[in-house]
């Protein structure tokens, strides 16, 4: 066999490994109930959950609680299926957190509690203005 064929096979094998690795390490967007199910089945993979902060009828955010030393906080998030979940985050509250219209938490259930590793926020006015005045 020509050396270049072997070379080609090695390259293709490397590329396939990369694709498999991507598929294996890719996270997924799930709901809290699916996430809980996954964790009960022994998976500790981090997943993405999309949702909003819980608000009362007049639009005030409820369930937001900062730690006494201000170094961490917890909040209630409502996922797209309407399920509520208390989420812990071990970082100070981001300044524009309360203004976010959508929150994506990346994290996992640990001992029955949802611990966020990262929080992505979508803020209504961050880069685009909606209205004048």
């Amino acid at each position: 066999m020509k050396k270049s064929y072997i070379f080609g096979i090695v390259i293709i094998a490397a590329a396939i490994t990369m694709i498999i690795s991507t598929a294996g390490d890719a996270s997924s967007y799930v709901s809290f109930s699916e996430a809980q199910e996954m964790s009960e089945n022994g998976s500790d993979n981090m997943i993405h959950v999309v949702g909003t902060l819980k608000k009362d009828e007049s639009g005030h955010i409820i369930g937001l609680k900062a730690a006494q030393n201000k170094l961490s906080f917890s909040f209630i998030m409502v996922d797209q299926n309407g399920l509520e979940q208390l989420v812990y985050y071990n970082e100070p509250m981001p300044a524009d957190f309360t203004k976010s219209e959508q929150v994506v938490v990346i994290g996992a259930y640990k001992n029955g509690q949802f611990i966020a590793d990262k929080i992505l926020m979508k803020c209504p006015s961050k880069y685009q203005e909606d209205t004048v005045v």
Partner: protein, 843 residues
């Protein structure tokens, strides 16, 4: 009054540039295909003229848009959305390219500049290369066309009026309404690197078109070999500019964002890195072809791929497909269809041409030997392409979701949760390969190698590498096996290329670009390894998670932030940290404490509350000081165990229209490491404070009492003729108290007023947020010489901050500069080769 003429002029320029680009395509096509020499020359002149007019029109668009932004014509959406009156000139420039339209314009502009350079430096290749340039300009100018035909919107114009851009009730009442001020530039982009990074990056993107245009022209003209010589200097130029552009972005992120690094594997970053890696591979195969006519097919494929990857990156970043996976993609302007057409058109043309000419491209039948230089070059190019492949596959995850959903499926794939780890575990090993290949390959490049000779050549570099590596891992405490291998590979490439450099310089220093560039790469590798692999959070505290009552959880979490109350020293590793208060930066440099300043109506003008010495000048109470009002600096004093003292001023920008508080770090830069500090959370200085219920207390002169835990003394009460700078009435009476509050390291002054006007008592309390005190004079008892103070308290000022150490990061920056030096030398060498051939009439 609304200035519609400016926008109309701009729009006219846009349409002109689009039409002229189309005409140029036609002219250059005629010039290329015409057999008759006179007609050919005429068509070529037509093409030149139309391209120049196109260029003038693009310049017209740029100038018009700049006039609109810098003249604060807020009736235009672009000026209103991206700038504001208070912006200094350099940031007016960056607001120009904050939006999609402006950045397309930047791209158009660079293509005009590059196209004109090619028009005047080329002979034989002019029509075919310029045809491709013009075609790209057609697509790019269509992106800012802003023409709606039926339901189809083509492009998004930067000259759209605010009232047409959005439905606001105010326009129903007054269609000529012009906002007082714009919404400003994203504070993160108010950084000098954002003035220079986008134009450099876009010059990099734009210049990838040149090698692509030569390759396509070569295929089209069936000159599948000769295109390489003129394309090579430009490919090198493009690699250098794109590389420095990407790194400037990294440097900006390091200085401005607070994730604590220069690279976050964000899709937008990846999208720029992938074409660059392939471009580097292409440069290598092109050089190999120049040396002895191998790797021609690879060069053609790679050069084409680079440009297509740039178009793919453009699609990713601008179409909105990335959605929430990226922190800094552009706003979706609904151009995704147009962007996709742009990408697919060039993909189809390039593939079709390459396939139809494939048989004309010679390839070497002979088996590549391990002891040949081609083998090493080819291996290097392959690893670079694998690097790019490994990055583009996960970066495209949102695209897979979009495709599956377009066909009615459901896909919920998300990018890897820990992107940094995911990419690092692959890219580290690629980096090791690259380092070994570039070290060894250079020996093969410069001389014919055989087994015995190779051993002899490599012996000394390997011995030195081993010795240096042993030294570095001992001194640096590198105990991780992967890192040891990476250090070894990095040191090897530096040492090996240093040997090459020594021998090449002796012959002709002009040829040493390659060796220098590879030394730069080795330095960058080591810099990246140490600054990322050994970056550590120094503000770590192990007090545990307080929000949860679950004891199982607490052990798992270390908190990476520290809470500092004003003037309350805390220990952090070898340092004692003290938060000294919030500051503003003045126009002439330097910081002034915010509690010494009183707000005026204008954000950037403050009046002094007390006498102040600054830079040898004395400012009186009541003087106006110009500061950058939107920026708040939090002074943190560091005192190390060995007595070293310094202050850092991490910044927070409060800009409600941009979504609240945005924090940027400050660094103590040392030769061997950077100490990096940013605030994670601070009380919002623009919000009013919640004060406690007022408490009344009766005090007299000289009596010591406690306010909010501070020892306080009523120093004096004086009669004054003016209150806050305004004179009082003839029959009125005003007194001002001076209350001294003794804080740690600082004595604060509180100066409330008590006024009797028309027999009515008026009270103007004074507050100091830093110590959380608001004091007013409630009543005066002249008989007893006592005063009743009303005291409200609040929480003392604090910051939550994070500090990190970044060892050896300077190696990365120095390595980058060395790499660029190598590129510049190579560009000069290859360009002089091209001009020599041109003078001989060959090109």
């Amino acid at each position: 009054m609304i200035h519609t003429a400016l926008g109309d002029l701009g729009h006219l320029f846009v349409i002109t540039s689009f039409v002229l680009a189309l005409i140029s395509v036609f002219n250059f096509y005629k010039a290329e295909t015409q057999k008759d020499l006179v007609k050919k020359a005429n068509w070529l002149n037509n093409g030149k003229a139309s391209y120049l007019v196109h260029g003038i029109a693009v310049l017209g668009i740029v100038i018009t848009l700049f006039v609109i932004i810098s003249g604060h014509y807020f009736e235009y959406f672009y000026a209103w959305n991206h700038s504001s009156k208070a912006l200094p000139l350099e940031y007016v420039i960056s607001s120009f390219w904050e939006g999609q339209e402006g950045s397309f314009l930047l791209w158009l502009f660079w293509n005009v500049v590059l196209g004109v350079i090619l028009l005047f430096t080329n002979k034989k290749w002019t029509p075919s290369v310029m045809l491709i340039f013009s075609a790209v300009q057609v697509f790019l100018s269509s992106m800012i066309l802003g023409v709606v035909i039926g339901d189809i919107k083509t492009g998004s114009s930067p000259f759209i009026l605010l009232r047409d851009a959005m439905d606001a009730p105010v326009f129903n009442i007054n269609p000529d309404y012009i906002p007082e001020d714009g919404t400003g530039l994203n504070p993160l982009l108010q950084n000098y690197w954002m003035v220079i990074h986008p134009p450099v990056l876009f010059l990099g993107y734009a210049s990838t078109l040149i090698p692509f245009a030569y390759a396509i022209a070569g295929l089209w003209k069936k000159e599948v070999k000769t295109w390489i010589r003129p394309a090579l200097p430009w490919a090198l130029f493009s690699a250098a500019v794109l590389g420095i552009g990407i790194l400037m972005g990294g440097y900006w992120a390091y200085e401005t964002l607070n994730f604590g690094g220069y690279w976050n594997w964000d899709p937008v970053e990846n999208a720029s890195l992938v074409p660059w890696l392939v471009l580097i591979a292409a440069v290598h195969t092109m050089i190999a072809y120049k040396k002895n006519e191998t790797a021609l097919k690879a060069s053609i494929i790679l050069v084409i791929s680079v440009f297509l990857l740039v178009l793919y990156a453009t699609f990713l970043v601008r179409s909105g497909v990335l959605g929430e996976t990226s922190v800094h993609s552009f706003t979706d302007l609904g151009l995704s269809g147009q962007l996709l057409i742009y990408f697919l058109t060039f993909t189809v043309i390039a593939f079709a041409l390459a396939i139809s000419r494939w048989k004309l491209i010679p390839s070497t039948e002979k088996e590549v030997e391990v002891y040949s230089r081609e083998f090493w070059i080819f291996m290097g190019a392959t690893v670079l392409c694998l690097m790019a492949f490994q990055i583009i596959i996960p970066t495209s995850i949102p695209v897979y979701n979009a495709i599956i959903e377009a066909f009615g499926g459901i896909s919920n794939m998300a990018p890897p949760a820990d992107q940094v780890n995911f990419y690092t575990k692959w890219q580290t090993w690629f980096a090791v390969f690259i380092a070994i290949l570039s070290g060894t390959g250079q020996f093969f490049w410069w001389q014919k190698m055989e087994k015995g000779k190779l051993k002899q050549a490599l012996l000394l570099p390997i011995v030195i590498t081993l010795a240096l590596t042993a030294l570095i891992i001992t001194v640096g405490g590198v105990y991780n096996v992967t890192y040891i291998i990476l250090v070894l590979a990095g040191v090897y490439t530096i040492t090996a290329n240093f040997f090459i450099l020594l021998s090449v310089v002796r012959g002709n220093y002009k040829l040493s670009g390659g060796a220098i560039a590879h030394i730069g790469v080795g330095m960058m590798l080591l810099g990246i390894l140490f600054s990322s692999g050994y970056s550590k959070v120094v503000s770590l505290n192990n007090s545990g998670l307080v929000i949860s009552n679950n004891p199982d959880l607490e052990e798992n979490f270390n908190q990476e932030n520290m809470l500092l109350f004003i003037n309350d020293p805390q220990n952090m590793g070898e340092y004692t940290l003290t938060y000294k208060g919030r500051y503003h930066e003045t126009y002439d440099g330097g910081y002034v404490k915010a509690v010494y300043l009183k707000d005026t109506k204008q954000e950037n003008f403050k009046t002094l509350k007390r006498k102040l010495e600054k830079d040898g000048k004395t400012y009186e109470s009541g003087d106006t000081i110009n500061v950058y009002g939107v920026n708040h600096y939090y002074r943190i004093d560091y005192l190390s165990d060995d007595g070293e003292q310094f202050s850092l001023f991490p910044r927070a920008q409060i800009n409600p229209s941009m979504g609240g508080l945005i924090s940027s770090p400050d660094m103590k830069r040392k030769l061997s490491k950077d100490l990096y500090t940013h605030v994670s959370s601070v009380p919002d200085p623009t919000q009013s404070i919640e004060w406690s219920e007022p408490k009344e207390m009766e005090v007299t002169f000289g009596e010591k009492f406690f306010l909010n835990d501070y020892v306080t003394v009523l120093d004096k009460v004086e009669r004054v003729d003016s209150v806050n700078g305004k004179p009082i009435g003839k029959n009125d009476l005003a007194v001002q108290a001076t209350i001294l509050v003794y804080g740690t390291g600082e004595t604060y002054l509180l100066k409330p007023y008590y006024i009797i006007r028309d027999n009515m008592a008026g009270r103007i309390p004074d507050e100091n947020r830093e110590i959380g005190l608001k004091v007013g004079i409630e009543s005066i008892q002249p008989e007893q010489n006592t005063f009743n103070l009303s005291v409200r308290t609040s929480q003392k000022d604090y910051v939550v901050m994070k500090a990190m150490e970044k060892p050896m990061i300077n190696l990365l920056w120095i390595g980058t500069l060395v790499l660029m030096l190598g590129f510049i030398m190579a560009i000069f060498r290859r360009y002089s080769e091209f001009t020599k051939m041109k003078l001989k009439g060959m090109e």
